[in-house]
């Protein structure tokens, strides 16, 4: 079964981070404050659909789709 990632969230939906499936991205994402149990909301997609505008616990950030794919969410 495919794991649920941030990319599966529709605009406006939220999810809780479970873990990461790419060590390199994980180390960077953690540094930026994306942690297991953080709540992530997808606010919107970029004009060309290749990046996500996220809201998490008081801060906003943008990540590429590939980076979002590495963030696994609770089902």
């Amino acid at each position: 079964m495919r794991k649920k990632t941030v990319l599966d969230l529709k605009v406006g939906e939220s999810g809780i981070v479970k873990s990461f499936d790419n060590l390199d991205y994980a180390s960077k994402l953690l540094t930026m404050g994306i942690l297991p149990n953080s709540k992530i909301t997808v606010i919107r997609k970029s004009p060309f659909g290749d990046a996500l505008y996220l809201q998490l616990d008081g801060q906003k950030m943008a990540i590429r789709n590939a980076e979002g794919l590495a963030i696994l969410l609770e089902d």
Partner: protein, 711 residues
């Protein structure tokens, strides 16, 4: 060490967007200088802060970073400095700047540095925003946890800056004990103990955590010898030390530890109302409206650069014209007068005339950065730019190049992937800059009839736009080619960008930022431009053996036979002299090479002299064709139209020639200022040479094809 104590070094460290630069500006005022860290193009800002007791400390603003496990080269620089007590920039004291509105994330790096046991004051910045949100701060809980002094302050409005300064005095007077935490906040897993101890023995690591950082990053830490690197590497293999996994474990364990503290220190408001930033962003980053707004802003920037810089540029031009005339009258007629007037003063004028454009562009860009807009543009265009081997941030540089490639290249520093940055630097000058305008004007007037199509569109205007489009297409095509040549994909590149809250710009920051960049341009690029101007002056003023005197005599003989006005006489002499000069010989020398493009030796001279700067073309053509003032662009094109080939009797300037010349000027790298800046930004002559060659190649073959098809 009994006499005057050496000034201590205080480093500002913190995440990007922590308000570090504002705090630096508040602490140091105008007493700051910018230099480079050795071997890298990362600006080092140093200033002096005056303490309450009248003594001074040296303040260093280190680049922002998120963690001691860094991404980009300027972040790595900070880790290099902080892990090497022998480094010239190693601070005696760190002022750690944290954004109180997002304390949890900002604590990560702070706890790492505390574990390196470098003395630290924790500056809890942006309390003005906390207070205006009616949130409360529990400073004692934080200082209990970190066991170092915590100062809540605001770099924006100056709150508690005095408290910070007296804490620094306290450090100087009472020693470092109160500023260091004895026991580490993070204990590495026990199974790493043996490994870390070995690294500690091998290196001069000051404690266990220091050893751990050396173990993670030995590959690029510049203060480790190759021998130590090899030993660390074999230790890592023997002990099965997993770099990324241990980084992640450390980060998670730190967050788990300080997470509850962070929530206790800053109490969040219960109701999360939709902030102003959310409202603004729902329009500014909208999928359709967002890009439109971006282009509207860029259009405005572009217009402002043209409209607002015209007058000051005229002043600078006039000032240097006046200074040249003044010196010419003051000094006797001699070679050194020519050198000063035509070489040095004209060369200096050529540099300084760009100051208004650079100032306006950087002012507007730094306002866009200060307010937080720039990271939105990066978010919107990152994907598109990546397809061309560029980065989201490249789009800012590409648009800026429409005014001048120099500030555009300087603006690429924000791109963290080196290859994406290099690609941006290489292709930016292909976008038509303002210096091409005079050339385009002369040549378009020559080839394109002054007609209107459909009653509204000016045909010449359309041709003008076409040349700009050609430049844009050229830049993107070149970027696509370099994407593969440089293997841009191989460089790890991340977006992961913070989108900070919108804030009104701090004018002082914007002003200092602009001042710094303008000064850098004048000093660094200025040195190279001055030298080349002098060489060009020499080449066009002197000729082999007594060629110049002969030319002078011939001209005198000719003028005695023909009745000409004073102005015509002067022009005739000038044109004879340039033909006899080294530049004239060079023109004739390159004629065979440029003949297939439809150019003769006279245009060859113009090509050579406009290497200094494109706008020189019109002036050189005016001199060669002996038409009075270079400002009179109409006369230049009339004179060109009448030029007849001495042997064949055909017209020299056909539309094919002019079009070929236009294409040449669209693509050719004819701006030594840009080359000088590329050299500075890439720290090597390799890239300016590559750029000169590939753009020259595009220009040559572009012209060749155009001319051969047209004639």
């Amino acid at each position: 060490m009994t006499g005057q104590r050496e000034q201590i070094k205080v480093a500002l460290v913190g995440n990007p967007n922590s308000g570090k630069s504002s705090l630096f500006n508040v602490l140091t005022g105008l007493r700051q200088t910018v230099s480079n860290f050795p071997g890298v193009t990362v600006d080092k800002k140093i200033g002096a802060a005056l303490l309450p007791n009248g003594s001074k400390v040296k303040v260093i603003d280190l680049p922002g970073l998120y963690s001691l496990h860094p991404n980009s080269s300027d972040e790595k620089l900070v880790v290099n400095v902080l892990t090497n007590p022998d480094d010239g920039n190693y601070p005696e004291l760190i002022v750690y700047v944290a954004d109180a509105t997002n304390l949890e994330r900002h604590l990560l790096l702070a706890t790492q540095i505390i574990d390196l046991q470098i003395p630290m004051i924790f500056a809890l910045n942006m309390i003005d925003i906390i207070e205006s949100n009616n949130q409360t701060i529990d400073t004692p809980s934080l200082s209990d946890y970190l066991q170092i002094p915590v100062v809540p302050l605001s770099g924006r409005n100056g709150t508690n800056i005095d408290t910070l300064k007296s804490k620094i005095s306290e450090f100087i007077n009472e020693g470092k004990n109160k500023f260091i935490k004895e026991t580490a906040l993070y204990q590495p897993p026990e199974k790493l103990n043996g490994f870390l101890e070995k690294i500690g023995n091998l290196t001069s690591a000051t404690n266990t955590y220091h050893s751990k950082i050396l173990g993670h990053h030995y590959e690029w830490l510049n203060h480790l010898s190759d021998q130590k690197r090899n030993t660390i590497q074999s230790e890592i293999a023997q002990n099965g030390f997993e770099d990324l996994k241990n980084q992640i474990d450390e980060t998670m364990s730190r967050y788990a530890d300080f997470g509850p503290i962070a929530k206790k220190v800053i109490r969040k408001n219960q109701e999360e109302n939709i902030s102003k930033t959310d409202k603004i962003d729902s329009i500014i980053t909208h999928r359709v409206i967002g890009p439109l707004i971006f282009f509207a802003i860029m259009f405005f920037v572009f217009q402002a650069i043209y409209a607002w810089s015209e007058t000051p540029m005229d002043w600078i031009d006039q000032l240097f014209g006046f200074a040249g005339g003044f010196v010419q009258n003051l000094l006797p007629e001699a070679w050194y007068t020519d050198l000063i007037v035509e070489g040095i003063i004209a060369g200096l004028g050529g540099i300084l005339v760009f100051i208004p454009q650079i100032t306006i562009l950087f002012l507007l860009i730094s306002i866009l950065e200060e307010t937080g807009y720039m990271s939105r543009a990066v978010f919107m265009f990152d994907g598109l730019m990546q397809r061309f081997g560029l980065n989201g941030r490249s789009i800012v540089s590409l648009v800026s190049s429409g005014a001048c490639a120099i500030p555009a290249i300087m603006a690429t520093r924000t791109i963290s992937s080196w290859k994406e940055r290099l690609n941006t630097i290489l292709v930016s000058p292909l976008i038509s800059c303002s210096a091409r305008i005079p050339v385009y004007t002369v040549l378009i007037a020559f080839v394109v009839p002054k007609e209107e199509v459909f009653g509204i569109f000016n045909l010449q205007g359309i041709a003008f736009m076409g040349l700009y489009l050609l430049g844009i297409v050229g830049a993107l095509t070149a970027a696509l080619v370099f994407k593969y040549i440089l293997d841009v994909k191989k460089d790890k590149s991340y977006l992961m960008i913070e989108l900070p809250q919108y804030k009104p710009p701090i004018w002082k920051n914007a002003f200092l930022n602009v001042k710094e960049k303008v000064m850098t341009f004048v000093v660094e690029a200025g040195k190279v431009i001055l030298v080349i101007s002098i060489i060009l002056w020499f080449l066009s003023s002197y000729g082999p053996s007594n060629a110049m005197e002969n030319a002078e005599k011939e001209a005198t003989a000719y003028l005695e036979l023909n009745q000409l006005t004073d102005l015509e006489e002067e022009n005739y002499r000038a044109s004879k002299k340039i033909e006899a000069s080294y530049a004239g010989h060079l023109g004739k020398f390159i004629e065979p090479a440029i003949k297939p493009l439809g150019f003769d030796w006279k245009m060859g001279i113009a090509l050579i002299t406009s290497f200094a700067a494109r706008e020189v073309f019109v002036g050189t053509m005016a001199t060669i064709y002996s038409v009075g003032s270079a400002d009179d662009e109409a006369t230049v094109s009339e004179r060109m139209a009448a030029e007849i080939h001495p042997v064949t009797g055909d017209k020299v300037y056909t539309p094919a020639t002019a079009l070929s010349l236009l294409i040449f000027y669209v693509f050719a790298m004819q701006c030594m200022s840009t080359l000088a800046v590329v050299k500075r930004e890439t720290k090597s002559w390799k890239w300016p040479i590559v750029q000169f060659v590939f753009m020259g190649f595009m220009a040559y073959f572009g012209s060749l094809i155009t001319y051969q098809l047209m004639s």
